[in-house]
């Protein structure tokens, strides 16, 4: 049975007075990979960031409507945003490991959650690195600076860092856009594995990527959700002409 993990209802988002998202209503199922596609500036990243309230960091953002995760509207007044972000983790477009060792990068999340026991931390770090499919590459140099890793490794480390706090939802904002094809393949493989335990929402510019890894695909254009359906349907037989044009490369 498919459970809806995230459910937005009539959601609008404004940057100052400019409307960036126009009436988005979408149901994102649990433990599936949902991909957002669309041309640059169409609002898909903005929408992704509003799912764990990262947009709060930007001045002048105003949101109307509801974003419901597990039956709770996360834009309610007394929501604890810090705890929300533990539940809804995020991986960014540009890999952004901290200027710390590999170990410290992954252990940071558990540590701020109050885990002090060294053996327990070791266990979590190993688990997270294994889940992010990078353990074999870094297990001998956990004490080295994370900034010495390659781009693809850094991105997988960032995924491991997100997994280490054991979220339920992982948001990924073009996680492979800055990587070479080999690293991209590894990340994609990883995403498919991760959906067993996590609900994954991914923004991508690469339509083949969306086709390869996602279960559902949403097409955004100019701040509106044009079409949302099973990935197979979107890529083979879309309902809307705009979607078809975009997928076949006639615009965007």
């Amino acid at each position: 049975m498919i459970v809806d993990k995230i459910n937005t209802e009539d959601m609008f988002l404004y940057y100052s007075s400019k409307m960036a998202l126009n009436n988005i209503s979408i149901k994102i199922p649990e433990k599936k990979v949902t991909a957002f596609i669309g041309p640059s500036g169409c609002g898909k990243s903005t929408f992704l960031r509003s799912l764990n309230r990262m947009n709060d960091l930007i001045d002048g953002v105003k949101i109307e409507g509801k974003v419901i995760i597990d039956n709770i509207n996360i834009y309610d007044k007394n929501i604890d945003v810090v705890t929300l972000r533990k539940k809804v983790g995020m991986v960014f477009q540009k890999s952004n490991p901290f200027a710390k060792s590999i170990y410290e990068n992954v252990a940071y999340g558990p540590k701020i959650n109050g885990i002090k026991d060294k053996s327990q931390l070791d266990e979590i770090v190993e688990m997270a690195l294994k889940n992010a499919a990078i353990w074999d590459e870094v297990k001998d140099r956990l004490g080295d600076s994370a900034l010495g890793l390659s781009g693809g490794q850094q991105q997988r480390l960032c995924i491991a860092r997100t997994l280490a706090v054991n979220p339920e939802i992982v948001l990924m904002d073009e996680p492979a856009s800055a990587l070479d094809p080999l690293s991209t393949a590894k990340i994609e493989e990883l995403i498919v594995q991760l959906k067993e335990n996590y609900t994954i929402v991914i923004v991508t510019h690469n339509m083949q990527q969306a086709a390869r890894i996602s279960d559902n695909t949403a097409f955004f254009y100019l701040g509106e959700l044009i079409e949302y359906d099973r990935t197979k349907k979107i890529f083979t037989n879309p309902d809307k002409k705009q979607t078809e044009d975009y997928i076949t490369g006639r615009f965007g």
Binding site: D59, K87, G89, M90, F98, Y108, L147, G148, R161, V165
Partner: protein, 401 residues
């Protein structure tokens, strides 16, 4: 022979091209006079500034050098200088009989600059001059006393008594005093400045930031004499009422006052370093459920360590060379202990306080320049540590190279 025909067309083509007006002639180097002059001027200015620094360095060391020289020639020339100096002084200061008497004194005392130095201090009172010359006799008769050598011997003691029958130039108390006051001011200034910078860089909204930063930076240009005066008149009394210590002006008061002078410097550079931390660190930390404070303390602050380190070292440099506040607020007594509530005398303040009463070419004069050299060397060491530590260790750790 096969080469000839292949060459000919090329040259033919070249001549053909040059007969027509050429739009981009890249075959000849042009001499650009404006570029040349600008480059030379900039180069000249750069080297001039370096030269000036080197010359100052050289001069300060040269003036400090005679203390260590025990070779007779230098000693002799120093003595001659001294004699001339003293005679000049006397000409101005006293009446004829006194002058004669002192010239006699000089005939007898071969090498006693401390006498002449004392003369510098005690002005046109003839009686006291006679007094002093009497003492000079006894000293010279007693030991055949070598000025420079005795100065070196006393250099590593803690008694700083440069104006006396038996001058002692123990700079140990001055060094300890300087370090003590530097430590106190840093313990006061660094936490305040760094926390203020952290607030400004991470927590304050844009409007607040635009108010706070220029305001604190304004304080950096505040004349230290004003801070010193404030410390001397207001702060010293106020702090004494709180802490009930014995001496009103002491290293604690001086340290706090110097800390006030150092705060803007540490603040500005720390703030810049914190702002330079990539925003992605901040986002990444928040995205895994860290609070703002956790992010600030465990991610942003560590990432800015090299900059903060540099800021603190610049603060040290400021405190180290600070003269006016030291003169006004520290009590200026060369005591050597680790009690923060006793008076101290710093290296810089010693030069500031005694430059007016020292006689040119005298041992005391040389020792003051030695102190100047020490300040130079300490500053140099601090900068070197900053350079090597920041570039070598911290950068390696943080950038993973």
């Amino acid at each position: 022979m096969t080469k000839e025909p292949s060459k000919a067309p090329t040259s033919g083509k070249l001549t053909a091209a040059s007969s027509e007006p050429v739009r981009f002639d890249i075959t000849r180097k042009k001499f650009r006079i404006a570029d040349y002059v600008a480059e030379k001027i900039i180069k000249g200015v750069a080297f001039l500034s370096i030269t000036i620094i080197v010359l100052i360095f050289f001069f300060v060391f040269r003036e400090a050098f005679p203390i260590f020289s025990i070779s007779k020639e230098i000693k002799k020339s120093t003595t001659e200088n001294v004699v001339q100096d003293v005679q000049e002084t006397y000409g101005e200061v006293t009446d004829q009989p006194a002058k004669e008497e002192n010239q006699e004194t000089y005939g007898a005392v071969t090498d006693s600059s401390q006498v002449q130095e004392q003369y510098g201090v005690q002005t046109n009172d003839t009686a006291s001059i006679e007094d002093a010359s009497d003492k000079a006799y006894t000293v010279s008769a007693g030991s055949g006393f070598d000025d420079n050598q005795s100065a070196i011997k006393t250099l590593l003691t803690k008694d700083w008594v440069p104006v006396s029958d038996k001058p002692r130039y123990g700079i140990l108390a001055l060094i300890v005093g300087t370090f003590k006051i530097t430590l106190i001011s840093l313990l006061f200034a660094a936490p305040i400045a760094i926390l203020a910078a952290l607030y400004t860089a991470v927590f304050a909204n844009r409007k607040m930031k635009e108010i706070i930063k220029p305001t604190i930076e304004l304080l950096a240009g505040f004349p230290s004499v004003v801070i010193g005066f404030f410390a001397l008149m207001v702060m010293a009394t106020f702090l004494q009422e709180i802490f009930h210590y014995e001496t009103r002006l002491n290293s604690f008061v001086g340290g706090i006052a110097m800390g006030i002078a150092a705060i803007p410097i540490i603040f500005t550079i720390t703030e810049d370093a914190l702002t330079a931390v990539p925003k992605s660190f901040y986002e990444a930390s928040l995205a895994i459920g860290a609070s703002k404070w956790q992010t600030a303390f465990f991610v942003i602050l560590p990432a800015a360590t090299p900059g903060i380190f540099a800021a603190i070292l610049l603060g040290i440099g400021r405190v180290f060379g600070e003269t006016m506040i030291a003169l006004m607020a520290t009590g200026n007594a060369a005591q050597m202990d680790l009690n923060p509530f006793t008076s101290v005398r710093t290296l810089a303040a010693t030069i500031g306080a005694e430059m007016a009463e020292v006689v040119f070419g005298d041992t005391h004069y040389n020792v003051l320049f030695l102190i100047g050299s020490l300040l130079f060397i300490f500053t140099f060491i601090i900068n070197a540590i900053a350079e090597f530590y920041v570039k070598g260790k911290l950068m390696k750790r943080i950038q993973g190279k």
